[in-house]
């Protein structure tokens, strides 16, 4: 077993992600078979989950860039809102890709305010973030009433053209769909997933996904990325080596705003097709949750966002599907419990055993999950991670600290 451990440490990050992904599909597949909830792994479900996870993932990625530079960005929500408005405006006035560009810029403008306040004036990060959220709502509503008539307008007209949708593997589309309909354990579910990922997928999604390996490359393989991360870990050490701490923080926050803006854009172009006041719906905060869940790493963040997006998609499913999640959870807990037992962590194993029992009990004694709580699974999960896994979390060491040259 030791050899397994050393073997694992040599597997590159993307390889590990594939393993986790397969594991996830296996769990869902098992749950599907056990409960008969076919929709759990249907193509539509996956598609919806992917689309719902994009705004969360982008917001979370924005949070990551900012916090890796040591600046907490609670204002993601406001920056996302700006992204939704400017994205809609651009799309209506000029065209979909202009909308994307303007939306990104809109988010960046919000970030500029945050940068000036925190890096420029040394205002507390949380306070600045809260102010920006307030402003974001007010500004977008104001701009709406000004642009699209009516002092109490709350939404924009529909955007005439949307961003192009692509078929990435056109020749595999039909055979995979055929495979998916056969209900075979794991194979069919995997096929459904692949179809959902590659067919009729919006270009925005492709861009969003591509930003993750790009982020990883920039932050972990380039000098700029190293300096940015060092500023979030130990700005004094970075300063003593000649790194321009202020510049790195500004960079982190501005990219953060741009990504949040893109997240807002995705909300508009993937879902509503227009601007609606309040459509961010707390996703900025869920993005932060995904970032924490992912331990401030792009891979983990993507996994967390996908998980949260999947949970989000349960809202529009029939009861049976969401209910089956309990069985999926039970399977995960069983696995975790066995792993704990193998590592001789008996307390942990016991906890997981109890959790498994609770899930199964809950499943057997109810018809469905409480609908009202489903949207809040991400938050509950994050809270549990914070409470139980706080030691394994590695927040950038100087995150949230106000830094002035030469000490306070």
């Amino acid at each position: 077993m030791k050899r397994l451990a050393t073997l694992w440490s040599h597997v590159p990050a993307w390889g590990r992600m594939l393993v986790y992904l397969s594991g996830g599909i296996a769990v869902l597949s098992t749950a599907r078979v056990l409960t008969g909830a076919g929709q759990l792994t249907a193509e539509n479900t996956f598609r919806s989950a992917i689309e719902l996870s994009v705004p969360i993932a982008l917001a979370g990625l924005g949070g990551l860039w900012s916090e890796r530079a040591g600046v907490v960005n609670i204002g993601l929500e406001g920056m996302m809102a700006l992204g939704t408005w400017f994205g809609a405006y651009g799309g209506i006035a000029y065209g979909p890709w202009w909308g994307v560009l303007l939306g990104v810029l809109g988010g960046a403008i919000g970030a500029l305010l945050h940068t000036i306040a925190t890096v420029g004036f040394g205002v507390d990060h949380i306070i600045s973030g809260v102010s920006i959220n307030l402003l974001g709502v007010g500004v977008t509503e104001f701009l709406t009433s000004v642009s699209w008539g009516g002092a109490s307008a709350k939404e924009s007209p529909a955007i005439p053209d949307n961003v192009v949708r692509l078929d990435l593997l056109p020749f595999l589309k039909d055979p995979l769909r055929e495979l998916g309909s056969q209900n075979r354990f794991f194979i069919s579910d995997l096929a459904d997933l692949i179809v959902a990922l590659t067919t009729g997928v919006s270009a925005l999604i492709v861009i969003a996904v591509a930003l993750f390996p790009l982020t990883w490359f920039v932050l972990w393989r380039t000098p700029v990325g190293l300096r940015l991360r060092s500023v979030g870990e130990d700005p004094d050490a970075a300063d003593s080596l000649g790194v321009n701490v202020y510049k790195m923080k500004v960079l982190g926050v501005m990219v953060s705003g741009a990504l949040a803006g893109l997240g807002g854009v995705s909300l508009v172009y993937l879902f509503s097709g227009k601007f609606q006041s309040g459509q961010t719906g707390g996703r900025g905060f869920i993005g932060l949750a995904a970032m924490i869940f992912g331990n401030w790493r792009p891979g983990g963040l993507l996994a967390g966002a996908t998980l949260f997006g999947f949970m989000d998609s349960m809202q529009s499913q029939i009861d049976e599907t969401a209910h089956a999640l309990l069985v999926a959870a039970a399977i995960v807990f069983v696995g975790a419990g066995l792993w704990s037992a193998y590592r001789r962590r008996w307390v942990g194993a016991a906890v997981f055993a109890v959790a498994t029992g609770l899930c199964i009990y809950w499943y057997e004694t109810t018809e469905k999950l409480p609908r009202e709580l489903i949207p809040y699974f991400p938050h509950i999960t994050t809270l549990l991670v914070l409470v139980f896994a706080s030691q394994r979390l590695r927040m950038p060491a100087a995150d949230g600290k106000i830094w002035r040259r030469g000490g306070r």
């Binding site: 380039t222 000098p223 190293l226 130990d234 050490a237 970075a238 080596l241 000649g242 950038p396």
Partner: protein, 518 residues
């Protein structure tokens, strides 16, 4: 100062007549330093003697007001550390500047990253970095694992990374600031072996320390700094530790005034075998035992950083002890909370009044409450008694001569001396039976200093048991009935202040004499 013989290689560093002033104080005056190429040159002195300022000048963090600096024979003037680095000077700080969550490699190359060739010049050339680190590591005997997270490294290993950091940038002159402060004996030996290796490879090393035995064993030349000036340079083979100590401390010591002893037989505070462990490092306190009696002032002398802060924390209940007991007034208070200890009658004059003793944005009368907020006259049940607190504050201002327009003034508006007088008054008027006075007259003008000394003496006469911790020998000799010396977390000597000589004191304080615990 004897002129060294002329050599073919120019001296690595030559400082002439350096002067550095700060508002209100002259940190360095008439400093002359001559460091030969490829030697280990130690700079010794007490805390506050001006060593740090001098090193900051050499490293480019401060600019001298007068004087010249020559590096490798060429005159230089640094505007920033970057310029010093370019000339080949590398500073290894006492408090390591390493990011825990980054790997050794990342910490070493930060800000100086090697890049791959076009068209991939955005990427860090990790392979090249790794090769160079391995090369430096092999050449100078500094083995490190480049992929290890700094967080998991021990103190000795971290120091090696810091040294590697400066060597990576091409440093040929290394400045080490108190490098053995937190090392255990084996790590000290490893470090010295590394330094010898570095010297063989032509690196010049400046070594700041106050530990004379170490300095004598590893240095080629030793320069003594006292009160901002370089007083002497010696070779280790022509001087003893005692002589060095004498040079560091100065050959005049104040004579204590003769007076009636007020020391009684009642032990008020007893510290027995108190130890505070630190994982991976030498314990901060190691089996410290002593007692303080009513009517006695026990003084503890020692160079800062040898456990005084931890001892205070242990007695005040601010730090947990790994072993040992503390008995106060007959009770075992080892597990008592800080509040309980204060309520029981322990007073505390902190060494850093801004950090531990005052609320700078609050008015004086609110500061008077600090530390005594659960007692009369400041509190009455759950309520704060404003009248009582204000009256007491007015009394303190009068009795202790605190110069202030009113008791409603914010604490930060007072001068350091008056702030300290307020604190002393606050503690003494609460009628403690045991008091910790840590550097009670630091940063205080001469007049206030004398007043505070008088107050402490009066309190002693009235029966107060006091533990006095100070770096001011005049203060220690003048006030103490018993004088202890702390070194590396242990009490290494118990002396009679009336008969202690400067070289004795200096030797114990710097570990030159390895005394048995008192």
């Amino acid at each position: 100062m004897p002129e060294p013989p002329a050599t073919a290689t120019p001296p690595a560093v030559e400082l002439r007549n350096i002067v550095k002033r700060f508002p209100g104080v002259i940190a360095n005056r008439d400093v002359n330093l001559h460091v030969e190429h490829a030697t280990i040159h130690a700079i010794v002195g007490e805390n506050g003697a001006g060593k740090s300022t001098l090193m900051k000048i050499l490293y480019g963090m401060q600019r001298p007001d007068e004087g010249t600096i020559e590096v490798n024979g060429a005159p230089v003037s640094f505007k920033s550390p970057t310029e010093a680095i370019e000339v080949g000077i590398g500073m290894v700080h006492q408090h390591f500047m390493l990011a825990d969550n980054l790997t050794v490699l990342e910490n070493v190359v930060l800000g100086y990253e090697p890049r791959k060739r076009f068209p991939r010049q955005f990427q860090v050339d990790t392979a090249a970095a790794r090769a160079r680190i391995a090369e430096i590591g092999a050449r100078y005997g500094l083995p490190v694992d480049p992929d290890a997270l700094v967080e998991g490294l021990g103190v000795g290993e971290r120091q090696r990374v810091e040294i590697l950091k400066v060597l990576y940038r091409g440093a040929t002159i290394l400045i080490l600031d108190e490098p053995t402060a937190v090392l255990v004996p084996q790590e000290v030996d490893e470090l010295f072996a590394n330094l010898a290796e570095l010297k063989r490879e032509g690196i010049t090393i400046l070594f700041i320390s106050h530990k004379l035995d170490e300095v004598l064993s590893v240095a080629d030349d030793i320069t003594v700094i006292r009160a901002g000036t370089t007083v002497a340079t010696r070779r280790p083979d022509e001087v003893t530790a005692h002589q060095l100590a004498e040079l560091m401390v100065g050959s005049e010591l104040p004579t204590p005034e003769t007076r009636e002893s007020t020391v009684t037989d009642t032990v008020e505070l007893e510290v027995d075998g108190v130890t505070i462990e630190r994982p991976g490092q030498r314990p901060a306190l190691d089996g410290v035992s002593f007692s303080v009696r009513r009517g006695e002032i026990v003084g503890i002398a020692g160079v800062e950083g040898n456990g005084q802060t931890e001892l205070i924390a242990a007695i005040m209940g601010l730090a947990r002890t790994s072993a040992g007991t503390i008995t106060y007034d007959g009770h075992d208070i080892t597990t008592w909370s800080t509040r309980r200890r204060r309520e029981a009658g322990i007073g505390y004059i902190p060494e850093d009044r801004h950090r531990h003793g005052l609320l700078l944005d609050a008015p004086l009368w609110e500061n008077q409450i600090l530390g005594h907020q659960s007692q009369e006259p400041n509190a009455h049940g759950p309520w704060i008694d404003r009248e009582g607190a204000r009256d007491r504050t007015t009394e303190i201002v009068e009795r202790f001569d605190v110069r202030t327009p009113s008791i409603d003034v914010d604490a930060h508006a007072l001068s350091g001396g008056n702030q300290q007088k307020l604190i002393v008054g606050r503690e003494l008027m609460a009628e403690p039976t045991f008091m910790i006075a840590a550097h009670p007259t630091r940063g205080v003008d001469v007049g206030a200093q004398a007043a505070i000394w008088d107050q402490l003496r009066d309190a002693r006469t009235a029966g107060l048991a006091t533990l006095l911790i100070s770096a001011d020998l005049e203060e220690l000799i003048g006030l103490s009935d018993t004088l202890l010396v702390i070194f590396e977390g242990r009490i290494v000597a118990q002396l009679d202040p009336a008969t202690a000589t400067p070289e004795q004191l200096g030797s114990y304080m710097t570990g030159a004499t390895q005394g048995a615990p008192a």
